[in-house]
Symmetry: C2
Subunit: 906 residues, 2 copies
């Protein structure tokens, strides 16, 4: 029988910090702290394994587990000298979630469990504090009612506000014991009315129901959304922590707070946190009340403050990372309730990692692993242009750095919808709650009137890298009118505002922003971290760029070449589109050649620009792979125009032209353009296109080469499925090359390779590699074909697939290692069987996604290629993959770590 | 240095009959005959290997090969006592193609090579026959000019006709020596004029040019078309045979002919052939002159006839197969020029194979291997309905059996085009030539005015199973007027005629035909052969059938179950289409359910019909996988209608309805429907569809089960790419099953399996097989995704791919073993790793294609499923695959052949 429950308390824990898989982050932290002698209220952790059993077992906890829970509950009762349901010595516990990866505020918590009509009287007798005891009871009913019985929070809030109004008071704290006794009664009525249920008086039953509710909260909408955002597998499940209550609401010498050992927004080394006296934990993190900054605790309770600093600094040294901790002070005594590695913004992550190396707390390898690659995005966030003339209308807490500009929206769901439409919005809320997560994800930034910098919602904003100004008390929101007031200025829904999460400023209008100067960043911690990363990574990083401007940006971001230049993108320009249309509509090779001859000089200039920008680095140019229909008028529109011309007796010659055009558009129409006349199929049926492009590329290369500029063109044949297709196109390229070199009187080195984007190409890669100099996996198309998903059409079912867990992730974002990954592996291995030095890269959009980059590292690809702005992310992800692999094989290969030589080239 | 040239002659050959790969069929036959002491003029064979080198080496024969050729030429000269180019003793040779698989008339031949202005005089002196010598010379110039220098045949024909007109004669034979001398001069002028070249006088140069022309003819249009028809790999190449000439044109005791040891049209055991006296070989087979039946030779040259019969019967016994032979009689002496296994019609193939078993010439296993599976089609050819009132207008040779009805077309290219449009045509020609092959392939049948039953074109017709009436001298064709005259009846282009290739009759009008009675066939040789096949095959054969009528046909043809019932096909019926549209257009699950409820009882009845027809055999039913757009009006048409209604101020309410419909059609529009909301994606987003279908299937099964009819439903989930999709749908089916069984008070056994048609499904088959009871490879879609080809759109490039050899075959017809085959193998092996008894079949259209069936056998699939009419073909192909495999492994496993037990079931 496996062990399903782990005890902690009385200076010793059954679990330990390394058991996060099993105990969740919170449970592992509590065990570790207990073992380290930190004052932690005792309790026990029900493992994540039970959560999985729960879901397998029709959402019921199996009997065998229940027995273990009972055993540990008895042990807890013994340790506390009290018993659940004992009217004289009632045990009160908290019931909290805790998954392997912390998901702040996404799942549910119930405090003060153990109260009923009888035990509350016992608590009064024991604590001699009727007000406190009744406050606990009403809080319990509120949380139990919401979490377990599903009554909206606002319902209780209304009853509470009603009572306060009747009594003419403002603060909860002004409620007297008899007010609270009345409130308990009203809450019980509320339950009966809204949940059609009485509050269970059996405390054991309460515990079971609370436990199951926490398990169920693993699958609430917020949690699912969060997991999808952060690629957390659905299968992990959450643990449940049952822990003896300590009380921050036992009068002025009691309190509760949360904090960080360093500033999670900027990374500065400063003790950072917030607390409330006479309050329970949820009051601080739920964002309802704006708490006090932690430095005030130094004045209020100096001894407690000292102990807190001592303990948390010890924890930081112990865990060798910034700690995010929760504490409660019960009548002057400090208890630690949680410690975990602190969520932080991108800039803070970089600074903390580099600082800790300098403090000799960690090694550069660890620093690299401490920064989520995607977080680097935030360093490259736009900032408010310092030269702009801005109107500051309010100032709040600088809760998450960066500038955000967008329309004011007061509702998370509306923000999410506007975001889907591609609109920029700033979500403005009285306070944010975890329910708003979808709106936060869609907004450019978040502005809240109340709530501190440690509230769950702000923690999540920081993690997502969303600029946030919190606790901005200068604004008052009137949702009904759809506006807010800030120092006399009325801002309406839909108005543009800007917020600066680094300064806390709120500004009016569409304030101009500027890109951060990457070269400036290179001088600071960012530069240091990236240089370390480059030393450790083995995977090359290139960029996808079609125009010189993007190529230059790519170089600045550290790209070591262009992995994909999509030549068809060169033809969308206004002056070129008509010629491109002419080419596509041509009925004879001669007409087509005439159009191509017009395009050729433009292409050549484009290529020269790219080669110049990439001087010394390879440039992979993909031959034309246009979605033909995108260059042509729509059939439906043409039909409507023609009918109109017919009926309105319009210009006959225009009508005739339109009819001819329609005819050709219909001729070119494809049922499934994605599987139609594309890529090399076009080059094979119309070889004149391949000839023109090869000539433009090689002439450009020759001309620059004569100017002593180094060029490395790599010509890529798209959509190859059989080696014969490749051979056909390569033959044309080689013939053109000989002609060009003869005419130019100079030769340049170049490669001819192919994209592997058709399953058959991966399956027959051994054959293709006999002919091809390099492979580049086109993972966008390969995903389409491997899944049989048209990217343009997945909107009709993919959301449902993700919501129902039929897919754990969007395969167009993250490489499907299990399925398509087999084709990439096969393609690489078979290719290298035929040609051991085959250069292999990927150039789909996955090339800048960290998990996918890691997979490419594992497969020993030569490089990934991604958008210029994701190049730093790919570099860091590549370094992490190399380090993780090294960690895994350390035992087998001691001291053989290879640093990547600077001169190595992808 | 490999051996590139093989000598034969003087009773001994360097090669032998088993070297067909290297020497081609003709070369191997000549070697074998020489070794067997058959009189064969000496010569040598240049191997197919040289053909491959020729194409690799820029269409030049490498120097090292040339040396070997020279050496063997000297040997031949020595054997013949004459020399190429020697004015006194000139050697004359024929230069002929000869590939591994014979391709009658598709490639080129040059006779009488060795003549020039000087040697022709030598020949005159030697033979003392000026007329004969000059006739050889003019024939040589004609053939060399056409084959090597590319001058159209008709150009020479015109000059020849001109000369005859001048001289007022009709037959070639009436030309005198001086006429021929003049003709030689005119032909040389013709060459100069049309080919801008003189006839090379160097006979060695002539030989080189002729040899290269034969190699080049491997890639002429006819040869490419033929190879594509018969799946002959382009890479094989042809050999070239250089052989001393013997002359059938040396007067009345000379002649030439071709024949078969049995009747190739009916299979009857009778000596069959044709000959011409005073002629060269090409005269017989080119179809220009109608030759004499071979029985006349018995009277004309009894000794020669006897020897011919003796030799060819010996050859038949030696090769244990019908021989197709060519012979020449030079002044009373018989020479054999070729022997090869004879092409025959399907009925003949079956009869000969079964007869030979009864004659103890071959074993049943060999008989099975002697019939091309596709030939069985011809046995199932329609025949003229004996009860019909027909008007016979002419009678010719019954050259290839079967009835054909179609419009008269006089031109092969026109016939090919009409065929593409789906029209039925009968190609009517003065004579057919191999150039007509594309027209023959497209026509229902062929009617010729001249030419015998052994002409190349008729041989090809027979092989293709096209009914043919040849040498129908009663008709005279006037192409200019577009008509032919037959016994006073004028038949115009486009008129319907019927021909009966079994009787030689030509009939007027759209004569009714009837399907042959399969049960009648079962009683004859066909039945015998099929019963042998069933004993040897290990692969099950099922049919794809959607309606009871097809299911019954499938059973008659020997299907052992239904492998694919496409439920969407049940909804194309007129009374169901509107309900289906209603279902698709439904905006809510409720509306959809309402439509589904109307469809449910219809579905149930359909299923009952299928189960009844298949009583005792399994029926695989695929859940809905409709191409949604096929059930809806076209967008373009709707737009046009709406515009018209708008401008014509039409009915407002109709307009409004159309607008709503357009709106919905546009909502449902997909960019790539093939990769869109299909298959299980539909069932997952609209589970009510799956529920309705599962209920209909299982209710039908239960109801029949209560009637004591055995039912084996296999429910198939389409388009699965991930195991989670399958799990989702299976869950619904299982839930529905429980409900149905409870309501019906009876349980039936059923399976839930999936189609493997998405590459990802094959890649993750191990996971899917943990849940699925069976796999069925949907090779149509799998081909689409593996190649990235939309079947509806390949018309834009696939013809070019096939023509240029980028693909050797159409992967939608024959399984691409090299590429997609890997996925089928992987899917099967991985699936059986998880579930060793996993039932695996295929149900794409490949299931009835012999090569693909063979592949499925190799992979140890349980069954193939194909159209009901291809079931016999699949049965035979499966038996052949089993026997071929046994032959291969015979040495390793002596005497372990397992006959398939009759009771085994797929």
């Amino acid at each position: 029988m496996p062990k399903y429950v782990y005890f902690f308390g009385e200076g010793k824990a059954e679990g330990k910090g390394t058991l996060r898989d099993l105990l969740g982050g919170k449970g592992a932290g509590l065990a570790e702290m207990t073992n380290a002698g930190v004052p932690v209220p005792p309790g026990f952790t029900i493992t994540t394994e039970v959560c999985r059993l729960f879901y397998k077992n029709k959402k019921r906890v199996p009997g065998s587990v229940k027995k273990q829970i009972d055993k540990h509950l008895h042990r807890l009762e013994k340790a506390m000298g009290s018993r659940l349901g004992d009217p004289e010595h009632p045990l009160l516990v908290s019931v909290r979630s805790g998954a392997k990866f912390s998901m702040p505020g996404m799942m549910d918590t119930i405090l003060n469990l153990g109260l009923n009509d009888k035990t509350v009287e016992g608590l009064i007798r024991k604590t001699k504090d009727e007000r406190f005891s009744l406050d606990c009871y009403r809080r319990f009913i509120q949380m139990f009612g919401n979490v377990v019985l599903g009554v909206e929070k606002s319902v209780f809030e209304e009853v509470l506000q009603g009572k306060k109004k009747e009594r003419g008071i403002v603060q909860d704290i002004e409620l007297t014991a008899s007010d609270l006794r009345d409130l308990v009664a009203r809450f019980k009525d509320t339950l009966r009315h809204h949940a059609k249920a009485d509050l269970p008086q059996d405390n054991y039953r309460q515990l079971e129901m609370a436990r199951d509710a926490v398990f169920l909260s693993w699958n609430n909408d917020r949690a699912i959304f969060y997991r999808r955002q952060y690629n957390i597998p659905e299968s992990l499940g959450t643990a449940v922590n049952v822990q003896a209550m300590v009380f921050g609401n036992m009068g002025p010498t009691s309190g509760t707070g949360v904090g960080f050992t360093r500033n999670p927004s900027t990374g500065e080394k400063e003790f950072f946190g917030e607390y409330l006296t006479h309050a329970q934990g949820e009051d601080v993190v739920a964002g309802v009340r704006t708490p006090k900054p932690i430095r005030q605790l130094k004045g209020e309770m100096p001894l407690v403050y000292q102990e807190l600093v001592r303990i948390t600094q010890r924890l930081e040294r112990h865990y060798r990372d910034v700690q995010d901790f929760e504490f409660t002070i019960q009548q002057g005594k400090l208890y630690m309730l949680q410690t975990r590695s602190g969520k932080r913004t991108g800039p803070a992550a970089v600074k903390i990692a580099v600082d800790m190396v300098q403090e000799k707390l960690i090694k550069p390898e660890e620093a690299i692993l401490r920064v989520e690659p995607d977080q680097l995005h935030q360093l490259l966030h736009p900032r408010i242009d310092a030269r702009a003339n801005v109107k500051v209308i309010a100032k709040g807490l600088n809760a998450s750095p960066g500038a955000a500009v967008g329309k004011v929206i007061f509702n998370a769901t509306e923000a999410a919808e506007a975001g889907k439409r591609g609109e920029r919005v700033v979500l403005v809320r009285q306070e944010t709650s975890p329910d708003d997560i979808h709106g936060i994800a869609a907004a450019q930034g978040i502005l809240t009137a109340t709530g501190g910098a440690t509230s769950h919602a702000v923690v999540v904003s920081r993690q997502m890298g969303k600029p946030c100004v919190a606790g901005c008390s200068a604004i008052s929101i009137d949702e009904e009118r759809g506006q807010f007031l800030a120092n006399g200025v009325i801002v309406k829904k839909g108005d543009m505002i800007a917020i600066d999460g680094s300064t806390g400023q709120v500004m009016l209008g569409d304030v101009p922003t500027i890109q951060p100067d990457i070269q400036e960043l290179e001088k600071g911690e960012y530069g240091k971290l990236m240089r370390w990363a480059d030393q450790f990574r083995r995977l090359g990083v290139r960029a996808n760029a079609d125009i010189p401007r993007d190529a230059i940006a790519a170089r600045h971001n550290g790209a070591e070449g262009i992995g994909l230049c999509r030549t068809e993108h060169m033809f969308f320009a206004k002056d070129r589109l008509p010629i491109m249309q002419e080419m596509i509509l041509a009925q004879t090779p001669e007409d087509r050649k005439a159009a191509l001859d017009k395009l050729a000089p433009m292409q050549k200039e484009d290529f020269k620009g790219l080669f110049r920008a990439m001087g010394g680095y390879p440039v992979t140019i993909r031959l034309l792979d246009p979605p033909l229909h995108e260059f042509l008028p729509k059939q439906g529109e043409l039909i409507a125009e023609i009918q109109e011309l017919r009926f309105s007796q319009g210009d006959r010659s225009v009508l005739h032209q339109k009819e001819i055009l329609l005819d050709r558009v219909e001729q070119l129409h494809e049922f499934n353009p994605m599987l139609g006349l594309r890529g090399c199929r076009l080059g094979i049926t119309m070889p004149e296109i391949t000839r023109m492009q090869a000539r433009s590329i090689l002439e450009a290369a020759c001309e620059l080469s004569r100017e002593k500029i180094r060029v490395y063109p790599e010509i890529m044949i798209p959509l190859v499925g059989t080696v014969e297709e490749f051979r056909h196109q390569k033959q044309i390229v080689l013939e053109v090359a000989e002609t060009v070199f003869k005419a130019q009187g100079v030769r340049v080195q170049f490669l001819v390779g192919t994209m592997i984007e058709i399953p058959r190409a991966a399956l027959t890669a051994d054959e293709i590699a006999k002919e091809a100099d390099f492979f580049s996996f086109g993972t966008n198309d390969l995903t389409q074909m491997t899944f049989g998903f048209s990217r343009d059409d997945t909107g009709k079912f993919l959301p449902k697939y993700l919501a129902e867990g039929i897919l754990d992730f969007d395969p167009f974002v993250t490489i499907d290692q299990e399925g398509m990954g087999q084709l990439i592996r096969m393609g690489t291995e078979k290719g290298r069987q035929s040609r051991p030095d085959l250069k292999v890269g990927i150039c789909g959009e996955h090339g800048g996604e960290p998990l996918s980059v890691g997979f490419c590292h594992t497969l020993r690809l030569n490089y990934v290629s991604c958008s210029p702005y994701r190049v730093p992310i790919a570099r860091l992800a590549a370094a992490q993959a190399a380090l993780r692999e090294e960690l895994k094989t350390k035992d087998r290969r001691p001291k053989t770590r290879r640093r990547r030589s600077k001169s190595s080239k992808s």
